[in-house]
Every structure is written in C-alpha cells, then in structure tokens.
C-alpha cells in the first residue's frame, strides 16, 4: 500500500515538474521573442539606447577604438605623480578596448589591470578604465581587501590642535 502511494506521489510529482518545466521553457521562449511590456516607460528607455545617443567626434572618426600612443604613458605619469618616490614599479596590462557610454557620451576607453609595487616590495592591484586618447582615469574598481593583523596600526590622519585655537 505504502509502495503504491509512493508510486502515485512520484507520478504526480513527475507530471507537475514536467508541466512547470514546459511552461517555464515556453515563457523563456516567449520572452526571447522580444516580448517587451507595452508600457510607455519601457519604450522610452529603449529609445535612449546607445545607438541613438549623439556620438562625439572621436567616436565617429574611430568607430573601432584606435587608442592614442600616449594613453599608457600619461596614465603612468598620473600614477607616479600620486605615488611619488614610494613607487617602485608600475605594470599596466590592457584587458580590452571598448566604447563606454556615460552622460550621453560614447567614449573610447581602455580597460586595464594596474599593478603597483612600493619600495617595500608590497604589491597592490586594481582595474580601471581610462580614456583611450588621454589616459585619464575614468573609473576604478576591484581594489584589494586588506586585513591588517591589528586595525589599530592602520593609517590615520592626526588631529591638528590648531583647529581649536
């Protein structure tokens, strides 16, 4: 009896699973046919697609990103200015070139991995996108999470007593 019940339950479960699976599949297929909701909001978003944004000159003249020769040198110079004499080594590895949309602009950018060594031989790394013409840093991400053994020894800014004079 128990076995029969189990069998029955199994069959019901299998039928249900099959029904759900086929419905879900059908739903995904339907959505793939660009079943965009008929709401004005959605259409207005679609109208602001990348292709419709007025393109700046250098995008028009260089639809395939042709980075300048200076971007990497300029980027290195920027990093050296900030790090000063503590910078031992800078390695910039290009990951990709692409057109980045921001503020109704289409900018040719280089996506890079930057590695820096300080004089103690300690390394840090992060990613950035930089302007393919000027080397200007536009965005950075993927910075390390450092876990110092003692948070009390972390870098801080001392209070200047003159503030209360």
């Amino acid at each position: 009896m128990i076995k029969k019940n189990k069998r029955l339950l199994f069959i019901i479960a299998a039928v249900l699973t099959g029904a759900i699976f086929s419905y879900e599949k059908e739903r995904m297929m339907t959505l793939k046919k660009n079943d965009v909701p008929k709401k004005e909001k959605v259409e207005s978003h679609l109208m602001r697609s990348v292709a419709s944004v007025p393109a700046p000159l250098h995008t028009v003249s260089a639809p395939e990103n042709k980075p300048s020769k200076e971007w990497k040198t300029n980027l290195e110079k920027t990093l050296k200015t900030q790090g000063g004499s503590e910078v031992k080594d800078i390695r910039i590895q290009k990951l990709s070139s692409f057109v980045w949309k921001q503020d109704n602009l289409l900018l040719n950018v280089e996506s890079v991995l930057i590695r820096l060594d300080n004089l103690k031989g300690e390394e840090t790394s992060f990613k950035a996108i930089v302007d393919a013409q000027t080397g200007k840093i536009l965005q950075t991400w993927d910075q390390p999470v450092f876990d110092h053994v003692n948070p009390r020894e972390n870098f801080g800014i001392k209070l200047d007593a003159r503030h209360f004079e």
């Binding site: 909701p37 013409q133 991400w141 200047d160």
Partner: protein, 833 residues
C-alpha cells in the same frame, strides 16, 4: 608494508622538526620528498594541519612547531591534478554539473617565476614540513575545502530559488548562472581581444611578502597570506581560519557579481562590497568573512593564531564566547547590537576604534545567532547535520542578498534589458552600488530580511516566522527599515512592476514591519543631523576640519594609491602649494572632515556624506551649461540667485530620472543634468548671486580656458585633443573623483562626530573613510567665496529611506538624484591667500 615505511620516514622527520619551534625567515626550501616508498595508497595525498596551532596545541603561545600539529593519522587527497591546482564543480542543475578545471592555483612566494609545484615523482604531495611546497599544499587543501563547501551550498541555493516552490517569487541569483559561469571568476570576452577578468582562476600565495597582512585582490584574482615580522616563523597561512576568512572575501566577490554577465555579454565593471577606510559595506564584508570561518570549522572564534597570538586581535563570532565583556550574552538584551557595539574591540573594550573588523562583529554575531536559531526552530528540517543544513540556509540568503546588492546590469531579465529594477540603470549602476546608494546595514539587512521571508518563512522553515525574524534582527538593532521594499517596482516608476515582464510573479503588496517588534532599533529624523556650529571658544566645536599640511596630504595620496585608489590630481593644483594654515588656499589639495552634530536623543549611525554631482540646479543656457541653483533649503534663497523650489524647472521632489552629468555632448549641454556640488559667488554691482564655476570664470574676468581648468586632461602630443569627459562647472574647486564621499560610524546623542569617536580614541586619528579630498585651482583670486551643497543620510534614519508619502515604501532609485532622501549640508568657504 611500504606504507609503513613511508609513515616511519615521516615520523622521524616530524620528530626532528619538532625539536625546535619553527623559525621561518624569508625564503624557504622547496621541500623535497619525505617518503621513500608509496604503494599507491598515498597517491595525490598529503598530511595536513586541520586547524591552527592555537587550537591543536593550546596554551603555548607562538612556541608551537608546525610539524607537531600535522595530522599524520589520516592523509588527505590534495588534488587529482598533476600539480597544485584545484577544480571547481557545482551542481546548478539536476541534470548536469558545471565544472571549471584548475580554477584554483596554489603558489608560495610571489615572484616573477610563479611556478606551480608539480606532484612529486612518488605521486604524493607530501613535502618537508615548513617548506614552501608544504604550505602551498596546505593552503590548497583548505581553499579547496572552503570552495567545495561553498559550491555545495550554492547548489542548494540555486535549486531552491529556481525550484518549483519559488516560481512566483522574484529572485536574484540568475537562472542563467550555469551558462554565464559567474559562480566563479570566469574570464569573459568583452570583445575580440579583451576579457573581464585577467584570469579565470583564483591564485593563492601562501608565502606572500606582506608584513602583518593577509588580503584578497579581485583584480588578480589572488589570495595573499603574509607574515608577522615580530614573530619569525609565524605565518598567516598556518591559521586555517584566516584562509577561510580571506577565501570568503573572494566568495563575497563572486556572489556580488553573479548578475553581472550572461553567457554572451557582461557589464564592464564589477561590484565590490566595501572600499578603503571605514564604511558599513566593508564591515558587512568582514562580518561575512568571519562567519565563513564558523561555517567551515563550527567554532565561534576566529584568528586565534595569526591575530590572537601576535596582537591580541582574534575575534569572537558569538556572544557565548568568553572573551566578551560582562553584559554581552545570548539573551535578547545581551546581543551585540547596532549601533552600541560598532566600535567595540572585545580584546580592548576600553579603547573603542572605528574599524570595519570591529563593526563587522555585529554582522557575524547576527549570522551565527540566526544559524543557531534556525537549528532550534527548524529542527525537523535539519537532517543529519544541523550545522551543515542551517549554514546552507544562511548561504542561500547571503547569495540572494549580495547578488541583488551588486547587480550592475539593473535588469531583471536579460531578454528585457531596458526595464530596470535595481541600482537605477545599467549606466549609473556602478555609481549607485558603490557611492550613492552604497551598502549600509539598513540596505543589506532589509534585503536579507526580505529573503528570509521569501525562502525560509514561506518555504524551508515556516516555524521561523516573520515575527521571529524581525525580533532577532531587532535584538541586534538591525530592524532599521519600515517595509520590506518588496513590491517589485522599477527604479523610476512605482506603476511599472515585475509582473509586467514576468507573469509568474504576481503583484506584490508592500509588506510592513510589525512595529511592536521594533524595541531596540531606533530611527531618527534626518533634520536632527547638521554641521556642528563653528565656535572657537573653550569647549569649542568646529564645523569642518581642514587638513592642508603638504606632507600629510602627500602621505594620504600615497596611502590611497597603494590601497588601489588613484586620485586624478589636476595640473593646476598640487600638494606643493599646500601652506599648512588650516584654511583653503589657491592651488592646494586639502582633506576636509565635516564635523557633524546629532541633536537627537539617540545615537545616529552609518552616516554617509556625498559630494558627488546631483540634481540641484536649473540649466539656463544649453550652449554654456550655465545654471541657477534650485532652492533646496533655507540657506540658498531666491534673493541669492536661486530658483524657487516647486517651479517646473526646479522641482526637488521630482529629480532627474537618469544620472547625466553637465558635460557637453554633440556641441551642447543637456537641458537637465546633475551638477557639481560647489557653487561660487559672483558679484554684479551691488548684488551677489551663486553661479556655476564656468559662468564665474567668464564673468569675473578670469581668462581661463578649458585646458586651464581642474579636471581637464589632454594627450601630450595633441594639445587640442578635447577631453570629452571634462566638466567646466568644476573648473575652480572640486571634490576629487574617488574621494568625494565620506563615512562616519556613529554620532552619539547631542554630540559631534569628533566628540563621539575621535576625541577619546587611543591615537586621536581620523579614519581615511572620514575624508573628502578637494582640489583648488591655483588661478582662483583670493577672497572668492564658495558654497558646496553636500548631502547626508544615515542608516538608522526614519525619513532618508522610507517615503512617508508612499506608505513608507523606499524612495525610488532615481530620487537619490535629488535632495528629498537627504539632509543638505552646506559647506561655505573663502579662498584664503
């Protein structure tokens, strides 16, 4: 017989090695084979240490020889690969397993060679204890164990979330995860010659050149285990709880980015949980990392060896830990509650400190309490291993929560990519996740609680009711929200909902928190936050601390850079101009620390101050981008050149629904845009008005070209090459990108931030997270007056997040472009000669 020969060799070697405590100084030997014979029973295996020396040989401080804690009774399979690499396998489908071969690389010293140690000729991974290869082997064993456990739990989470019981629920872990392979650090082609990740594997460096440090670097992707220079021979890799903690940072990074790519495309950026210096996102990351140590070893304490022995900095993960001060216990009243325990260091309870690791204890303690509560409340569902099942529940909640928080694509369904439900929209999402709507304790625990309702209460364990969940959150002071924000609307319109694109998901009514469950979590009105008055008498307060000491600023910039945060300094400013007069002068780079004052009767916490562009002006001329400020408070008035609030052009109640900066595009400026925070006062005859910096430079007689402005960069060979990203309305003074938001742990009742946190601290230092960095053009005439309109809000705020005009539903993402969710903080300054 052969096996016994091998064990005999090891025993002899152990005995020799244990004569002296480990003395590791820098480079280690590679580690030759230590067994002569292997009858195949030791193939691919090694003897490993299962826990840290402090646990296996307690009470001996740092004087434990690593050879003495190796478990020689039961060798473990390290890898079936022929070198020290591990594989990834996760069952995201009933029908097949997703696999990534060699997804973990285990190395020792980080140098140019960086070779992977091969399996020995005797087919084992048994190396001389204390050798480089020995630590590579142990690191791989523990990382693989942590990864396997994560995948097992992710498999559970995925199959629950996408199972038949949850078909009507909005879900965050994407259905296409098996195809995108973003369950790991999978390199994805963005174009024919690029990739999102450099590597599709995680590399561990067991003997990293970092004194007193361990780290996770998502750019690598790398784990790094350092040493302690005061304790020769003591290595972080010797403490498996530290390995699990660092691995957990990697797993958080994975979970944060699950939604950020499909099989065919990917967002160009990745989300990170936390930045540099104190902020709550980083504290949550640390809390989860401590919790993962508990997931792995079921111990409610972390870092006894690497942190405890060396620095008295090991951390508890439960109130039941003996290290806590009296009064902290597992009762509702004794929990480690927010914000009371934000600065709490259980090792030095009389010396509070603002740090993500201490604040993160609230998160780790809550997660352990939740785990234990699930074990008791849902005992029938726990199966053979209550710890394993309950931690799987919590990992389900974490993966759903983090993948929603870190979502950069913003769409729910890639087939409907322009219908945004999260983090404003695809273009602005990075700014929203990392800055404007960055993760606070409120945001995290509101989404987490929503997922408890969706997956635990309504399916896995109905006995863990909404009320139980809310009460437990409240025990920790974390019931910081009024509703679950669960009605599934888009980021710009409450009338557009998930049901529009997914008929399986019914219209979701907004669920309110039961107010009687809120006993410890205090919410405070935003108007009770302001700048401290500037009084220079005895017992004085000060509105802003200004740091313009050139050496301090230079050191700060170096520190930022070597933590991965380059700050783009302009050619018209430099720390060489800094004159150290604690005022703002032409050409300087200054650090500003606003001294915020809490005039309420409760402690404010998680205070965030934004100095990024926002919708507070009305553009009057699209050819120049000149604008008039909108009236957003009683400080800048119509008489001073502002446009009245409520007018069609300056309605602060309806800000711009995208984040478009005031930069030229197609030869004109946008008619509606977010603008830089700093206005400048223009004198015209006998009257003055606040104007844009670009208008000021033209009308005040300054003959500054664009290329002489702050923020303008051109390539060296082509001077005329325009900087398309340049914003002329921050030509004279600007907050530096990457350093234009500040965070403050807490402000006590009727006190300033300085008095609450810094004044009585051990070092009387400000945290880097407290700073805003500003650069000032060297061309500014002394005496020029500026007004910067900053925006502040905090985690336990009653009206910064919930919109009382919409049944306490959260403000829509686009509303964070305006002033309504914030308290506007005006920072006025004159440029001093």
């Amino acid at each position: 017989m052969n096996r016994f020969n091998g064990l005999f060799s090891i025993t002899i070697l152990m005995a020799l090695a244990s004569c002296n405590p480990t003395q590791i100084t820098g480079a280690k030997s590679r580690g030759d084979a230590v067994i002569d014979n292997n009858d195949a029973s030791l193939d691919n295996k090694a003897y490993i240490y299962r826990d840290s020396p402090s646990i296996i040989a307690p009470g001996q401080g740092a004087r434990v020889a690593i050879a003495d804690i190796i478990d020689t009774s039961s060798p473990e399979i390290i890898t079936l690969n022929n070198q020290l690499t591990g594989n990834c396998a996760v069952d995201l489908s009933t029908f097949f397993t997703s696999t990534l071969s060699e997804c973990i690389h285990s190395k020792g010293v980080k140098d140019s060679a960086e070779t992977i140690t091969p399996r020995q000729e005797n087919k084992t991974y048994i190396f001389t204890p204390d050798s480089e290869a020995f630590y590579e082997t142990n690191a791989l064993f523990h990382i693989q164990a942590g990864t396997d456990k994560f995948f097992k739990k992710l498999s559970f989470a995925y199959q629950q979330v996408h199972g038949p019981f949850n078909i009507t629920k909005p879900k965050s872990i994407p259905e296409y995860l098996p195809n995108s392979e973003l369950f790991w650090f999978k390199a994805i082609d963005l174009s024919s010659n690029g990739q999102l990740f450099r590597n599709s594997f995680l590399t561990s460096f067991a003997l990293c050149n970092k004194d007193k440090n361990a780290s996770f670097s998502p750019a690598g992707v790398e784990l790094c285990f350092g040493f302690h220079s005061s304790f020769p021979g003591l290595l972080f890799v010797q403490d498996p709880s530290v390995i699990y903690h660092e691995l957990a940072h990697a797993l958080v990074s994975v979970m944060m980015n699950m939604r950020n790519g499909t099989a065919v495309s990917s967002h160009p950026f990745r989300s990170n949980l936390g930045s540099f210096g104190y902020e709550e996102a980083g504290a949550i990351n640390e809390g989860i990392a401590d919790y993962y140590s508990f997931v792995m070893n079921a111990r409610t304490h972390f870092g006894e060896w690497a942190l405890g022995v060396t620095s008295n900095q090991s951390r508890p993960i439960s109130e039941s830990d003996a290290i806590h001060i009296s009064g902290v216990n597992t009762t509702a009243e004794g929990r480690l509650s927010y914000p009371q325990f934000i600065l709490y260091d259980p090792n030095f309870p009389d010396s509070p400190l603002e740090d993500v690791h201490y604040a993160g204890q609230i998160v780790s303690h809550y997660l352990v309490a939740l785990t234990q509560n699930l074990q008791t409340t849902c005992s029938a569902a726990m199966g053979e291993s209550a710890h394993d099942t309950s931690t799987s529940y919590v990992l389900l909640l974490l993966s759903e929560t983090l993948s929603e928080i870190g979502d950069l694509n913003s769409f729910y369904d890639p087939n409907v990519p322009s219908y945004y439900f999260n983090n404003l929209n695809t273009d602005a999402s990075f700014l929203w996740t990392q800055v404007v709507n960055q993760t606070s304790y409120r945001r995290f625990f509101q989404i987490f609680a929503k997922n408890i309702r969706n997956y635990i209460t309504s399916n896995l364990c109905p006995a863990f009711t909404k009320s139980i969940s809310e009460k437990l959150l409240d025990d920790y002071g974390l019931l910081l929200f009024k509703t679950y924000n669960n009605n599934g609307h888009t980021t710009t319109d409450r009338n557009n909902i998930l049901n529009d694109i997914d008929p399986f998901i019914p219209v979701q009514p907004l669920t309110a928190v039961t107010e009687s469950n809120r006993r410890k979590s205090v919410l405070i009105a935003k108007d009770l936050l302001d700048l401290a008055p500037n009084v220079t008498a005895a017992n004085s307060t000060i509105s802003f601390f200004i740091i313009d000491n050139g050496t301090d600023i230079q050191n700060l910039l170096k520190e930022l850079l070597f933590k991965g945060f380059p700050v783009p300094i302009s050619t018209t400013a430099s720390f060489e101009y800094n004159n150290n007069n604690v005022r703002i002068s032409p050409g300087e780079i200054v650090a500003l620390i606003p001294n915020l004052f809490n005039s309420s009767n409760s402690t404010m916490a998680g205070v965030q101050l934004l100095a990024n562009d926002w919708d507070h002006v009305h553009v009057t001329d699209t050819s120049t981008g000149n604008f008039k400020p909108c009236v957003v408070d009683t400080v800048t008035t119509v008489d001073q050149g502002a446009v009245a609030n409520g007018s069609e052009t300056c309605s602060t109640a309806v800000p711009l629904n995208e984040h478009t900066r005031l930069v030229k595009s197609g030869g004109v400026f946008p008619a509606e845009a977010v603008a830089p925070v700093c206005l400048v006062e223009l004198e015209e005859g006998t009257s003055t008005r606040w104007v844009s910096q670009s208008e000021f430079r033209k009308k005040s007689g300054l003959s500054l070209l664009d290329k002489d402005c702050l923020g303008y960069v051109s390539s060296s060979t082509t001077v005329d090459d325009p900087d398309f990203n340049f914003n002329p309305h921050e030509c004279l003074a600007r907050f530096l990108p990457g350093a234009n938001d500040a965070f403050f742990s807490k402000i006590d009742s009727r006190k300033t931030y300085f008095d609450s946190v810094v004044k009585d601290s051990e070092n009387k230092q400000f945290n880097v997270g407290n700073l805003l960095l500003m650069e000032v053009s060297k061309w500014i005439p002394p005496g020029t007056k500026f007004r910067c309109r900053l925006r502040a809000r905090f985690a336990n705020c009653s009206d910064c997040h919930a919109d009382s005009g919409n049944s306490n539903d959260d403000f829509l993402d686009y509303e964070l472009n305006g002033s309504k969710p914030f308290k506007v903080i005006n920072f006025d300054f004159d440029v001093n000669d």
